[in-house]
Symmetry: C2
Subunit: 436 residues, 2 copies
C-alpha cells in the first residue's frame, strides 16, 4: 500500500521556510510578552474533558473538541484552547504566588474545524494572561501587550484596530434597561455575536423571536448603535449605570495608554466563550481581503472557582498564528525568509582534505559559527551557487595547497573578498567570517 | 463539582521555572543543530494511524499509541515519534531538493507509558535527521551533532557515552554466520534488545528457545562478547564479512571525529524500532543513579518507499527532554533558573505618577528593555524585595519630586548605585539599566 504524503486534514507541514516564518512570529510574541515581564509557561497537550465542559461553551464541546477515551478509560481531549489550562495551573499556586501573575505561552491547539482561509484544525496560539491585577489596570496592560506586538511588526492604525466592549455593561443593559431574564439575555448574546454577519432583516427576525415587546426591541437596537465610547457613556448616564465612574476612569486610562490609538468601542463584540465577565476585545484586520479577528480576549472573574479556589480575576487574550500570518502578508509586513542564515560552507576539493575539513569545522562551531561541511569532494563549479542557495555568507575551500599548508581559503560571497588562513588561527577565521 | 488541578496523568505542567529550564534545553538543541546548518521543521501533532503502522513496530502500535477516530471517521493518532512525519515530509520534496537534506525539530510527542523516572506520557524530543548523505559521512555528522550538544552543556566522557552497532553487520552474523532464517533473526533481535536487562540464565533460556543447535548458541554468545571495534573487526575478518573495507573506513572516520572519545562498540544495541537498517546508536548516561539511554537513533534506508518514492537513506536520532534533564541534574550541569531576567521594576509612589510611569515604561520597552510596571501605588518598603524576587536588575521610582520634574530615579539592585534622569532621556536611562 502507498501511504499519503499529505498531512492530516486541516494541519500543516512546516518545511524549513515555513518554520522560519513561524519562528519569526514566535520570537516577536516572546519579545512583546517579555518586554512587559510576562513569564513563559506551558501545559500538557491533552487534558481531561471535564476541564473544558466546565466553562468553554457549547459549540466548542459539542462540535469542535478532539475527544477520546485513553487506554485507561480516562475521557480526554487535545487542548482546543489554553485558558482552562492556565486557570488550572494558576489554581495550584494562586494562594502563595505574589500578584499579579503574568504569564504567556504559545501552545499548539486543535479544533475540529472546516478548513478555510484563516482557520485550520491545528494552530499555534499566543496566550497572554494576567491574574490578580487591580481592576482595569490589568485590562490596559494586556491591551498594551497586544499593541506592542503589532507595532513590533510595523503595523499601524490603518492596518488594525481593537474593538472593545464590557460584558458587565451589556449585562446591565440587558437586565436593567431592556429588562430580560437570564435565559433571554443569553439568547441576546448569541444574536449580538452574529449581528455583524447578517443583514438588518435577519437581525430583526432573530430579535423579535426573543423580545416580543416593541419598546424592548427598540432599546436593543439603540444599544447596537452605540458605536463610540462617547455614545455609550451618554446612554449609560441616561440609564443610571451604577458603575459609570469606574468605567469612565477605565476609558481615561485607556486614552493615556499605548493601545488608545487603535481602540474603538463596539457593542457587537461579546466573544463567544462563556467565561468572560468584564471587558472583552478583539484585534481586527482592516485589510479589505482579510476582515476578521486576529486576536480576542477579555476579563474572566470566576475561572478559579471551578477548582474550589477563591476568585482571582484574570484578563487574557489569544492570537492564532494563521490569522496573524495572513494579516502580515496582506499588509506586506512579512519578511522574506526563503533561506537559512549560515556562516560558512566548508568544502574540500580532494579526499585527502576530509580530515582537515572536519577538524576545522569542529573548531569553528566551538567558536559559535554555523558551519556546513560538504560531505564528500566538492566540484568547484557548483560551489558558489550551492553555498548561496543554502544561505551561507562565506565559502571555505580546502584544496591541494591548503592541505599541504594546513590552511583554509575563505571567500565572502557578497564582496568576493578572499583570504587564506592557517586552520589553527580560529580567531582570524572567525573575524573574517563574521564580517559578512 | 470541583475539578482536579493536576495535569493529565504522565504529563507535566511547566510553570515559569520549569519553562525556563525547558527553554534552556531547547536553545542548546537549536544551537547544536544550527551550528551544523540543520534547518528547523515541524509537522502536525496528529497523523493518520496508517503512517505508524507501516514501520513503527508492534509495541508502539499495540500498546503505546494514542489513537482515535475523528468526527469525520478518520483513524488518527497523536504523534508518538517524529521519524515517520519527517519521512512523509521529505517524500514530498525528495526529488527536487538538493542533498543532503539536514533537518531538526523539537516536537511534543505522546506515548501511553506507565509514568516513571525518565519516562512520561508527553515529552518533547529533539529530532535530527540527514537524508541523502554519502555512506558513513552522514552517520559521523549526526554523531557529531549529538556530541556537540552534550559538550555545550559541559558534559564529558566520564558522564556519557555513545554505544554503536550496525544492523547490517548483525544481519550478516545472524544470516551468514549463525545461519538462521528471517523469523528467527527477528526473534534474536528481540533477545538482544533485552539482553542487558536479564541475567545469564534468562538469556540462555530465551536463546535456547530460538536456537536449538549448541554451535549456533555458542556463535550467538560469542557475538554478544564483541565489546570493542577491534574484537568485532577480528570476528568479521574470521567470517569473511564482504563489507569489511567499508566498515573499517567508517571506524577510521569515526576515530577522526568529534564523537570518537565518547564512542564504544556495543553488540547489545540494536534499537527497538523496526525501520533501522544500518548503523544504530544510543547515547547513555554513565551516572550510577541514572543508567539509561538519553538518545537513540540510526540509519534507515527504506522509509521513503512507503510513499512510493525512490529510496533515499536517512540517519537520525531522537533525544527526549525528560531523560536529558535527568542527566544534566545528576551531573550538576543544569543552571539555576529560579527567576526571570528582567531589566527594571518601574513603580510610582503616588496615583499622580501613574501616567508618567506608563509612558516611561512604554518608551523603555520600545528601546528593547524588559520593564515591569507595578500596577497601582507601591509601598517603598516592599520595593527591593519584590523587584529581586521577580528577577529585575534595577528599580525605577516615580515619587513626588519625580512627578514635579518629569523624571525618574533609578537604582541598581546589585551595586545600589542611584541616579535621577529626565523621563525624556531614554538613552541615558537605557545605558544605566543595561549596565546591571
Amino acid at each position: 500500500m502507498t501511504l499519503s504524503k499529505k498531512p492530516y486534514k486541516g494541519c500543516r507541514d512546516f518545511f524549513p521556510k515555513e518554520m522560519r516564518e513561524r519562528n519569526f512570529l514566535f520570537d516577536a510574541m516572546k519579545s512583546a510578552a517579555e518586554s512587559f515581564a510576562y513569564e513563559p509557561f506551558d501545559g500538557p497537550m491533552v487534558e481531561e474533558v471535564e476541564l473544558y465542559k466546565a466553562k468553554s461553551g457549547e459549540e466548542l464541546i459539542n462540535e469542535q473538541i478532539y475527544e477520546f477515551t485513553d487506554r485507561g478509560g480516562r475521557h480526554v481531549a487535545i487542548r482546543p484552547e489554553m485558558t482552562p489550562t492556565v486557570a488550572r495551573m494558576v489554581a495550584q499556586i494562586a494562594k502563595q504566588a505574589s500578584k499579579p501573575i503574568r504569564w504567556y505561552s504559545i501552545p499548539n491547539l486543535m479544533r475540529y474545524e472546516k478548513p478555510q482561509r484563516g482557520r485550520l484544525r491545528e494552530h499555534w496560539q499566543f496566550n497572554v494572561d494576567i491574574f490578580g491585577a487591580p481592576q482595569y489596570l490589568g485590562e490596559i496592560e494586556v491591551l498594551s501587550v497586544v499593541s506592542q506586538l503589532m507595532e513590533s511588526f510595523g503595523a499601524d492604525k490603518e492596518m488594525f484596530g481593537i474593538q472593545i466592549n464590557d460584558r458587565e455593561i451589556v449585562d446591565f443593559i440587558f437586565n436593567e434597561v431592556i429588562k430580560v431574564d437570564a435565559q433571554k439575555s443569553y439568547r441576546l448574546y448569541k444574536i449580538i455575536d452574529k449581528s455583524k454577519k447578517v443583514d438588518r432583516q435577519a437581525l430583526e427576525k432573530m430579535t423579535s423571536e426573543v423580545l416580543e415587546d416593541a419598546s424592548q426591541q427598540k432599546l436593543f437596537y439603540s444599544y447596537l448603535e452605540l458605536t463610540s465610547f462617547e455614545k455609550l457613556v451618554t446612554f449609560l448616564k441616561e440609564h443610571s449605570y451604577p458603575e459609570l465612574t469606574a468605567f469612565e476612569s477605565f476609558v481615561q486610562k485607556l486614552k493615556n495608554s499605548q493601545a488608545w490609538q487603535y481602540t474603538e468601542y463596539d457593542p457587537a463584540i461579546v466573544r463567544g466563550l462563556d467565561y468572560y465577565t468584564g471587558v472583552v476585545f478583539e484585534v481586527f484586520d482592516k485589510h479589505p481581503d482579510n476582515k476578521r479577528a486576529i486576536a480576542g480576549g477579555g476579563a474572566y472573574a470566576n475561572l478559579l472557582q471551578i477548582f474550589n479556589e477563591p476568585a482571582l480575576g484574570g484578563i487574557g487574550f489569544g492570537m492564532g498564528d494563521v490569522t496573524l500570518k495572513d494579516f502580515l502578508i496582506s499588509h506586506n509586513l512579512m519578511p522574506k525568509l526563503d533561506t537559512a542564515q549560515n556562516d560558512v560552507f566548508l568544502t574540500y576539493m580532494d579526499e585527502q582534505g576530509e580530515n582537515l575539513a572536519m577538524t576545522t569545522a569542529h573548531n569553528l562551531r566551538k567558536a559559535g559559527l554555523k558551519v556546513e561541511t560538504n560531505l564528500g569532494v566538492m566540484k568547484f563549479k557548483k560551489l558558489f551557487k550551492t553555498a548561496e542557495s543554502k544561505g551561507h555568507t562565506n565559502v571555505a575551500i580546502i584544496g591541494e595547497d591548503e592541505i599541504k599548508n594546513s590552511s583554509v581559503t575563505l571567500k565572502n560571497l557578497q564582496e568576493r573578498k578572499q583570504e587564506t588562513f592557517s586552520v589553527d588561527d580560529i580567531e582570524s577565521i572567525t573575524n573574517f567570517l563574521k564580517q559578512g
